[in-house]
Each structure stands twice: as C-alpha cells, then as structure tokens.
C-alpha cells in the first residue's frame, strides 16, 4: 500500500512524524482527506482534531491530534501539518480540558471554549 510521510510540527517542537495511509484535517472550507499521491496542496487549517491513519512498522493504527490553527502542505508524498499549538490525544489532560471548557463557558470566552472543545473531541476521537 502506498504511504505518505507525515510531519506534525508545532511552533516549539516536532509532535509526531511517521508513515500514514490517510490524513483527515479540517481546513477553512471543510474537512479534507489526503491520501498518497494527492496533488500538491497548501491549505489553512481551522482548529480541530486531525486524524492520521498510520501504516508504520507497528501496524495500522490511528493517531489523533488537537491542532489549533495552522497549515497543511502536501508535496512529493510528504505532508506537513504546521500548527502553533498541537497536542496528541494521549498528551491531553482530559480533566484539565473539561475544567477549562467550563470556565470558558462561564466567562463567555469563545476562543478558550473552542480550544478546550477541540481537545476534548480529539481525546474522544470524534471528528
């Protein structure tokens, strides 16, 4: 099966890199799925969960990450996801995100609410 190389990079570190068969991310005009051999693409990401179907040596699996704004670029079977903040689902502290969500709701802070919501959805694996 064809593979594409994925680099998920946050501003201050590299979050994840590996081989994948499919990457689904949310751009400003809707969800986009990228498979190997896709035409070169450069898009603006909305904050939302990114799903990576991995095909690496450790077998098939799914990596979900919460990405807050950024870019997706694909060329030569190499996909880069650039985000100011990116977290893998297993790095996310659910309780903290829930607390943040409640606090954001009570303070009517839309941006913070959205961030917390994206984190929780990434953990739940709901796209």
């Amino acid at each position: 099966m064809a593979e594409l190389h994925v680099e998920l990079v946050a501003a201050d570190r590299q979050v994840w890199s590996g081989e994948a068969g499919l990457v689904v991310a949310r751009t400003s005009s809707g969800d986009i799925g990228v498979m190997p051999g896709h035409q070169p693409l450069l898009g603006v990401l909305e904050s939302g969960p990114v799903t990576i179907r991995t095909t690496g040596e450790d077998g098939d699996g799914t990596v979900v990450a919460a990405v807050h704004g950024g870019f997706i670029s694909f060329a030569d079977n190499k996909l880069s996801l650039l985000a100011e903040i990116a977290e893998l689902s297993d790095e996310i502290d659910v309780q903290r995100a829930e607390r943040a969500l409640e606090r954001a709701k009570s303070e009517a802070d839309a941006a913070a609410e959205r961030r917390a919501d994206v984190r929780l959805r990434a953990v739940a694996g709901v796209h």
């Binding site: 990079v9 501003a11 590299q14 400003s28 035409q39 450069l42 603006v44 870019f71 060329a75 100011e84």
Partner: protein
C-alpha cells in the same frame, strides 16, 4: 599580625568569595546554553516548513500581497532590537545596540523615518537614558522566550506593517539580534523581514532542497487567503527564532564574561598572596632585626656598665 598583611588577607578573602560567585554563574550559564540550543533546534522544523510554504505560495502564484511587495518610495521603517534583561554578559547588549544604531543611521540616510521596537531591559534603558522615542518595548522573557512571547512581539509589528504609511504604518520591518554562531562566536546581525525578498528565500529553499523544483500547489481556500494567514505566522516564527538565538547568545556571552572574571580573580588571588607572603616575610625580618638590635644594645649597655 601587621596592618599591611591584614589588609592583603582581607582582600584575598573577598576576591575568593567573588570568584566562587562568578564560577557558579559561569556554570549556570553553560547549562542554560545547552537548553537554549535545544530550543533553537526544536523550533527549526516549524520554521523551515513555514519558509518552504511561504516560498511555494510566493513563487507559485501571481498574488500581490501587502507584505511581499516593495513600496516604490519607502518612507518609514520599523526596527526591532533584541537585547537582554540582565547584564553581566560582556558586550552582548551593547554590541546589539551598536548594530541597531548603525542600521538606524543607514535607514535615516536613505530618507526613512525609523520606529524603534525593543525587547529587553538593557535596550530600553539605553534608549530611555538618551531620551529617544521607543514605539513599543517588551521585557521579562529574554532568558527563556516562549512562542507566546514571540506572538506578543510580532502582533504590533504586523499591525504596523499592514497599516497605511500615512496613518503611522511602516513600509519595512528590520530585526536586529545576536546570532548564535558557535559557543565562542556570537555576532549581531540585522535582517530585513518584510517586505520579503523572495529571491533570497527562494534561494535558501533551493539550497536546502538541493535544487528541487517546487511543485504547483493547489491552494485551499485561495492563494491570497493562504498568504494572508501564512505571512503573520512566518514573521512570528522568525521573531521566535531570533529570540531563541538571542537567548542562547546571551547565555554564551555570560559564560564567557564570567569565565574571564573567574580567571581574573584567580590571577588577583595569586598576586595578592605573593604580596601577602612578601609582607609577612618583611615583618619577620623586621622582628628579627629588632630583636637582634635590642639584644646587642642590651649587651653593649651591660658591657659599658661593667
């Protein structure tokens, strides 16, 4: 103990205490350089991918964007100067300030007004003492800058670039910081961030990808929108990189300054103990000659009375 010897002993004690402090500071700085270097390395993938993307959009489309096009008659430029909050780093801050002064002079000679933006308390106090106008300044994070700090710095700069020149906006954005070349060498550099010189970024990208031709990209939603979103991030990431490099350079400069302070203290202790030894010896010699003199005077006196 004689007065002279006591003074020397006291000075040796105080210099030894100072040496201990400078030695500790040297070691702290050395460990921080490594940390700062790691941060620079960790931020590199994001910066290089972003540069690649910017180059791809800018060369792969005919989009004209406020942040990439050069103005015919630039009348105002912004200079961002990165210094440190704390001293004890040799010429680190003053070298960066000097480079900024040179750049400002050059821009003024070209007939541009210069708006100064400063990071770090040293730069702020330099300009404050000379009562020069500073458009905006930030302090408190130069030792370990985070991306949020870089965003805070980049915000007003990007806003100024996007504003019309007539309404107080700027046409160009320059950044002066200290580049971390190696443990021993750090050089202040000035870079023009905006408008982007595309030839240069394209060249850099070509070099890094070894002559690989950039593919024709499909833009989502459109080339303009992508560029709109991309360029502020690009500026932020460049400023972040500059802040990190400046932090690493500051720690390296501190380490070097503290190392020479420690060496000087050692030298001083050595020469002071020589002096103290000589003083002690002189004291002993004097005591002996006094005793001998006294004894022979006594002997003469007894011999005379007989």
């Amino acid at each position: 103990m004689g007065a002279k010897l006591r003074v020397y002993k006291r000075r040796i004690r105080s210099v030894t205490a100072t040496k201990k402090i400078t030695k500790a500071m040297e070691m702290i700085a050395a460990s921080r350089i490594v940390k700062a270097q790691r941060q620079v390395a960790a931020s590199t993938p994001y910066a290089s991918e972003l540069t690649r993307a910017v180059t791809a959009v800018a060369t792969g489309s005919n989009t004209k964007h406020a942040l990439t096009t050069e103005v015919d008659q630039p009348t105002r430029a912004a200079v961002l100067l990165i210094t440190s909050d704390r001293g004890l780093a040799g010429g680190y801050s003053s070298n960066a300030i000097k480079a900024a002064e040179q750049l400002t002079g050059r821009l003024k000679a070209e007939g541009k007004e210069v708006d100064t933006y400063i990071v770090g308390r040293k730069g702020v106090s330099y300009y404050g003492f000379r009562e020069r106008k500073v458009t905006e300044s930030w302090t408190g994070f130069t030792d370990s800058p985070t991306y949020a700090d870089a965003k805070a710095v980049a915000g007003p700069l990007i806003a100024a670039v996007q504003q019309d020149t007539a309404e107080g906006g700027v046409d160009e954005l320059h950044i002066v910081y200290t580049e971390f070349v190696s443990m021993m060498t750090q050089t202040p550099v000035d870079n023009r961030l905006l408008p982007l010189s595309l030839e240069k970024t394209a060249e850099e990208a070509q070099e890094s990808s070894k002559g690989e031709i950039l593919p024709l990209f499909d833009f989502e939603p459109s080339a303009e929108d992508v560029l709109d979103a991309l360029l502020p991030r690009y500026v932020e990431s460049r400023i972040y990189n500059a802040l990190l490099q400046a932090a690493a350079s500051k720690h390296a400069a501190t380490r070097r300054a503290m190392k020479s302070a420690t060496d000087n203290a050692e030298e001083l202790i050595k020469s002071l103990s020589r002096l103290a030894n000589a003083a002690r010896q002189a004291e002993i010699t004097q005591e002996i000659s006094e005793i001998v003199g006294g004894a022979s005077a006594l002997a003469d006196a007894t011999a005379g009375s007989d």
